[in-house]
């Protein structure tokens, strides 16, 4: 039988990102899930963690000033 002892909020929050990454052992994954099933505050943390991850993943604007781009292109041409 797996240990399904409840974990406190601090523990659940600490593991949220790893939980989203599936980077923790299945039994810990289960514990976090169980905690989320009854804790509204941690569900809020979870939603925010998802938003934060999306925010980071989509903030990779690929801006390059024209003069820098030009210099780098010239650099490549002269290699």
């Amino acid at each position: 039988m797996t240990d399904t002892k409840a974990i406190p909020c601090s523990e659940a929050v600490r593991q949220l990102w790893d939980y989203l990454d599936h980077a923790i052992p299945p039994e810990d994954q289960e514990k976090v899930e169980k905690h989320l099933s009854f804790c509204r505050s941690c569900c809020g943390e979870l939603e925010f963690a998802k938003e934060m991850r999306a925010f980071l993943a989509t903030s990779t604007a690929q801006e390059i000033p024209p003069h820098v781009k030009e210099r780098l292109e010239r650099f490549v041409e002269r290699l």
Binding site: W17, D18, S59
Partner: protein, 196 residues
Amino acid sequence: MSEAGIRDRTKEGFQELVLAELPALYSLARRLVRDGAEDLVQEALLQAFRAFGTLREDGAAGRWLKTILVNVFRDQVRKRSRTVDERPMGDLSDFSLYRTLVDEDPFPYSDSLHTDFLQVFDSEDLREVLIRLPDIYRIPLVLRYMDGFATKEIARLLEAPLGTILARLHRGRRLFERELWAYAEEAGLLTKERAR
């Protein structure tokens, strides 16, 4: 040219392949260093050109170039400082940006407080927050959550044990969230949207 096609490993082939990747490379470089992003890209291009023969397929060029750039950066950091910058960043154990936002309620009229908070940051604000973090936290954070490297790859790239990278990601996330909040207050980002 087909997606998986392979160009000749010539100078012309190299040029053709990397020109399209310059914006992505430069952006990554700017997330890694405060100054000198262009130099970092140049050094990476130089090394990439020398190693062009090792690139298996053109489709992997973007990731290949980024990996080289991170390697160059890692070596530069090592040369610069013999000791790892582990300066204490205060006690983070109980900081939660989620709860801070609930408690401080910067947008009293908003019913999507947390979403609105993230929206006040443009890409330059975000860069400023990232650049404030010590290298040991910023690098894994950028590679994992912005550039999509797997934690194992990051460990290999930075030549550090996986456990160390996981611990740094952990601490780095807390630190990042605390700095996001501090920066938003400092830069006055939280007052603009009050009227919403």
